[in-house]
Subunit: 424 residues, 2 copies
């Protein structure tokens, strides 16, 4: 009676209605379930009240038969999902000793003294007959209630890390068994340092599909992702069509394409450096550590990144990186000569094979007619061949800083491509 | 019959259900409307189909009487909001000459040659009797339909920039006139380095309100925010109740409360340092620049942050920070002695009054039974008084790193509080 590959999401929490939290779980659920052919056909966001939760879940069950709720499973009194849905399904709340034991073990492992607080024990009260969905990352287990007609609601916590872990460990296998062999898959070719309109001209301005798959332009701070979507196809067929679409997009876009799907620019640069035996050091002024933070986000980055200098104050540029005080006075910190000296200086100091320097005006203050807010000089020293690049980024302080870090890494990527043997 | 200060949102678009777009409009609408006393009581996200749109809007009108839709107003065939809601309200679509004129003027002003494309003229077809909501930022005007019982649906485009402009220019005044002078306001007391369950015990485990205002616990990577909400009150009365609630929460929570609302820990630490004339230098191993990046996100941080060292590789710890190679060999990089030497070293090197060092195991690899993944040593040197602190954070690599940066700043905040004269 209900389609086995459709689900509705009910998101519970005042903070989402009040605009205090951006709902990233919605994205996680859609991507992970979409990859195994499950469509989210509707999503509702409701307040932390029993009436609102009951109403939304009842309607979703009537329409679609399969519901996932997120949020409201914590230990405090405003966590109403468990008692409310127990009542909707006509079940009593009973204490589950396996959850009690797990909570006590977790409490002890975190080195907290004394007995588990009573409020945490709330989380061991589960509706009679509920399946427990293990939570490897936190104290609130998930729960699944199924009625006599096969309609089910799966309750997950709202904490993104916990939700992701439970999705991968329990929900994806459970739903995959129901999806009947077809998938919904997407492929994104990631580009940077090229405008959306320029991409559209390369791909054919009116083009809304590639290799028969719908095409979307997704601009963001990292660049523009070009995404195609294959729906309701067997996995092999979807993969072949996505491969063909990716090939056509890459042919049109050329060197601007730096990665596929969720591979990031730091991953690309680190991998390429590791393969060539290159090491990196960074010298950051306006980005203040952001470039280093993005590189070290990637596990294993210590094989490539030696470290570097956060040269925010000019004294640090002079002392740590050997920037000339005279050049600072004559040209300012945001200048070609200073960017070059920073890149050379951090490379010399650390012994890295590649030095990356960023110096710019991130705003909101500090701009001049000559050097408006957004002006950034990037210096790249590869094996002693140092070059500087100027750009003016639009956006707020965070966007300017992020775009500068992205451009710096892209420049390293292109410098390494230049050094590859032809045909590599 | 319906409350004049409640609204439901219906968000229309496959891309949101597919997880390809994060719904930032939800946050914008909630904040702007909340500030004038309008509560969003429910939000639904539905696909680009006439059935789904009709069903969601009909239910929302029946429950709440006032609905805002976003999305589906563009010029292409998958933009169904206009014809679908015209049909729901029993109205014909008629051509609006004022919209035609505006579209033609916009087309000409953008320097596009020739006549307006026919697809754009779709946007001039409006339901009979609809009010037009001007769109100063794009081609798709908004529309409002009202039925004989005063129920209304206001249709807005999904483009965030257009939605923001229309909200401020047209919707906020329209809703403010209905809200009758009452407001919806929230206040969050931000805490860190204390568990949600421990906060609940301090506040009274079963406490769901403070000073008569409902209380919510909002855990996140920065800590737990405690939020109270005042609804349907005149602005003065709401402010007084929020002040009282904040006072009671701060009394219960004590030193764990570091800020209010959207003030961040880096802002708190930078402001406190600036007021005291302190300067900061950072020495980052596992965080790789994240602490510096968070501090320099704040405009004006250059008054306090001098810079520092990304000491990812041990050679950099030795050369830049004067860490002892013998201690590195004997105790490892993640140790009390190395954290202390890093903090002292970066302070000495830069001349800052405060040195902050972070060294830890962010994972996913590198953990040992003695030092599991998540183990972090933080060194804080304030005017030569250096102390080290150990913690074990749970979560993935990003969370461990972020929590370490938050804890390091919180330790600085507490050290500065110790130094304040009593009563300050």
């Amino acid at each position: 009676m209900f389609k086995q590959n459709e689900v509705e999401i009910v998101t519970i929490g005042d903070e989402l209605l009040l605009g205090q939290t951006v709902d990233t779980n919605a994205v996680t659920l859609a991507r992970e379930l979409g990859a195994i052919g499950i469509s989210i056909v509707r999503r509702a966001t409701v307040a932390d009240t029993a009436d609102a939760i009951t109403d939304a879940v009842r309607q979703a069950l009537a329409r679609t038969g399969t519901v996932i709720t997120t949020g409201g499973l914590g230990p405090t009194a405003d966590d109403l999902t468990r008692p409310t849905l127990a009542a909707l399904f006509g079940r009593a709340l009973v204490r589950d000793e396996s959850i009690v034991a797990a909570l006590e073990a977790l409490w002890a492992s975190r080195g907290r003294g004394g007995a588990l607080p009573a409020s945490n024990l709330q989380q061991a009260m589960v509706p009679e007959g509920a399946e427990i969905v293990p939570n490897p990352e936190g104290t609130a287990p998930g729960l699944r209630l199924t009625d006599g007609e096969g309609r089910s609601v799966t309750m997950l916590p709202g904490v993104p890390r916990e939700l992701r872990a439970m999705l991968q460990q329990s929900l994806v296998p459970w739903f995959a068994a129901r999806a009947g062999g077809t998938v919904l898959r997407t492929r994104a070719v990631r580009t940077t340092s090229i405008a959306e309109s320029a991409l559209a001209e390369r791909l054919g301005a009116s083009k809304r599909s590639v290799a028969g798959l719908p095409l979307a332009y997704l601009p963001g701070m990292e660049g523009v992702d070009l995404r195609v979507t294959a729906r309701d196809l067997p996995p092999d067929e979807a993969a072949a069509m996505l491969d063909e679409a990716e090939r056509l997009i890459r042919d049109a876009v050329g060197v601007h394409a730096y990665a596929t799907d969720r591979v990031t620019m730091p991953m690309v640069v680190l991998e390429r450096c590791a393969a060539r035996g290159e090491t990196i050091a960074v010298a950051e002024s306006c980005t203040g550590g952001l470039l280093g933070a993005r590189l070290t986000e990637v596990p294993g980055s210590s094989r490539v990144l030696l470290g570097g200098s956060i040269a925010y104050h000019n004294d640090v540029k002079v002392r740590d990186l050997g920037v000339s005080p005279d050049d600072l006075a004559a040209h300012g910190a945001v200048s070609e000569v200073v960017a070059l000296q920073m890149a050379r200086g951090v490379r010399a100091r650390t012994g890295a094979s590649i030095g990356i320097a960023i110096t710019g005006i991130a705003g909101p203050d500090g701009g001049t007619p000559d050097k408006p807010v957004g002006t950034v000089w990037i210096g790249i020293d590869v094996h002693g061949d140092a070059r500087a690049h100027r750009a003016v980024y639009i956006g707020d302080r965070q966007e300017i800083r992020f775009r500068a870090s992205q451009a710096a890494l892209d420049l390293v990527r292109r410098r390494l491509l230049e050094r590859e043997p032809v045909g590599d």
